[in-house]
Amino acid sequence: MQYMLLIYSDENNWTEEEGKACMLESMAIANELAEQGKWIASSPLDSVKTATSVRLRNGKRIITDGPFAETTEQLGGYFIIDVSDLDEALEIAGRLPPAKKGTVEIRPLFPLPV
């Protein structure tokens, strides 16, 4: 079963050292998962200040500066993992450092029709 872990937190709430430590710890978890064949992809995201949104309305492409919604916590990174069930996904999500400051949302990947 594949899940995406969407990592949200207030990006202004991290000192440089905290950010670095979080990155290293997350990379270690990614490596450990990869060794167990449970890692598919993961990456931190650059700040929402760099976000651009696009919408197509009446055939017209509208481009705006910023994320899809202004929120107090922002999507700051993700993992895609392949594990046996929700409990295992919860266990891994709970170990990610941003879980202490923000929120990790777990979403099953919707299986494509064969």
Binding site: D85, L86, D87, L90, I106, P108, V114
Partner: protein
């Protein structure tokens, strides 16, 4: 349909005794609630055709599980008649066909536990956990659950479907939690059971027969849980509910009005429930693993064993509230403790605490705080203050029986002053 050789009671009994066990195991084997339910119903239909009233199979549960398994294979094939079976369905039907060994009692019990923990998984909305467990573990119908919670059948049906879909789509596992997860997961099961009980026990509106059914189901579920897990808090919650339940006949008068503990006719208290509750409290306290529910049950046990308020061991009650507060500060518990302190040390001692609590944001608008203040002012012979407090309580009370109780208190003040 139903074969006439069985009488209705026998059929109902067989269904009651077996349906939830059969369902729990079929959910594990099939990994799908809807398929398990359909297969279980087909297995019961077969049982009605094949079983002789005076000659049932040695182990009806195993028979039904095994038949349900075969029915599930038929259902899967029927659904897919015009299409090739997907590989995972072929695997499932093969596994089901191979699953031949008789199911042990232990496995059947473990499956019931799995079903309970799955329905109460924290990934499921608490609003959904309650109807889900009442439907799947207790076997109440959606209509019964809806009328107990004063909502429409379609709203309840949607919640149950939402729960089953979440279990399937997010792949919530069908397992008994590991030892290190167990305490937390057990907590959420116990809180669901207690919510079900309180919904049935609280004096709010609704069909009283069905609401009694909820307290009965909560106690039954807790008893089942205790046979499966011998845990102090599982005992504590059962004791707490039994001790509350023991006062059912004494707590409401013919008009449906609330009678407070101190005014209840203690002869109406159900002594056999008290006996059982007190024994469970003792057993839980002896284990030294007890928590919140056991201590609350212990407080309730002190009341249950006292012949009057004057005869009540208030020292012990105050100390037990103190243990609760040390563990987890809560203004509601402070309120309860203050009332007990007033019983021991006189109304002014209680009022000193309550008037401080009045300023806490959480309780400022809590009608029972003002009601308690009114009562203590009355006892302190300060009728004007009592009147103000009761009037404030009346403004804040939402349930009709509570409003009537406060009105009675106000009326008794007037009678006294005349």
């Amino acid at each position: 349909m139903i074969n006439s050789k069985h009488n209705d009671n026998q059929i109902a009994d067989l269904y009651k005794q077996n349906s939830r066990k059969v369902l729990a195991t079929l959910v594990r084997l099939l990994g799908d609630f809807d398929l398990a339910e359909e297969a279980m119903h087909e297995a019961f239909t077969s049982a009605l055709e094949l079983w002789q009233p005076d000659n049932l199979p040695d182990n009806p549960t195993s028979w039904l599980i095994s038949t349900g398994r075969h029915k599930a294979i038929d259902i899967i094939r029927r659904r897919r008649r015009f299409q090739a079976l997907a590989p995972e369905l072929i695997k499932l039907t093969e596994a089901l066909a191979d699953y031949n060994q008789a199911i042990s009692q232990k496995e059947i019990e473990d499956d019931q536990l799995r079903l309970i923990f799955t329905c109460c998984h924290p990934a499921i909305d608490p609003k959904v956990q309650i109807p889900l467990i009442l439907r799947e573990v207790c076997g109440l119908t959606t209509e019964e659950i809806a009328s107990a919670f004063l909502t429409s059948t379609s709203t309840m049906a949607q919640r149950i479907v939402r729960g089953k879909n979440k279990i399937r789509d997010a792949k919530i596992p069908y397992v008994i939690p590991t030892i290190h997860e167990l305490p937390q997961r057990l907590d959420s099961v116990l809180s669901v059971i207690y919510l079900v009980f309180n919904e049935g026990y609280s004096a709010s509106a609704g069909d009283s027969v069905i609401r009694n059914e909820l307290t009965y189901e909560a106690i039954r579920l807790n008893r089942l849980l205790l046979t499966l897990i011998n845990d102090a808090e599982v005992m504590g919650l059962l004791a707490l509910m039994l001790l509350h339940e023991s006062r059912r006949d004494a707590r409401i008068d013919q008009n449906g009005d609330i009678i407070l503990l101190e005014e209840q006719n203690r002869k109406l208290w159900n002594q056999s429930l008290i006996f059982e509750g007190v024994a469970l409290v003792q057993q839980s306290l002896n284990s030294k693993q007890f928590g919140f529910y056991t201590i609350q049950a212990a407080i309730s046990a002190v009341h249950a064993q006292s012949s009057s308020t004057a005869d009540t061991d208030w020292n012990q009650i105050i100390a037990l509230y103190g243990i609760l507060l040390n563990n987890e500060p809560s203004p509601i518990i402070e309120l309860n403790q203050a009332v007990a302190i007033a019983m021991r040390d006189g109304p002014q001692a209680g009022l000193n605490i309550l008037n401080k609590l009045k300023h806490s944001s959480e309780l400022a608008n809590y009608h029972l705080l003002h009601c308690a203040r009114g009562e203590l002012y009355k006892r302190a012979e300060q009728p004007e203050q009592a009147k103000n407090a009761f009037e404030q309580a009346l403004k804040l009370a939402k349930q009709a029986p509570e409003q009537r109780l406060i009105q009675k208190k106000l009326a008794s003040l007037k009678n006294k002053s005349n």
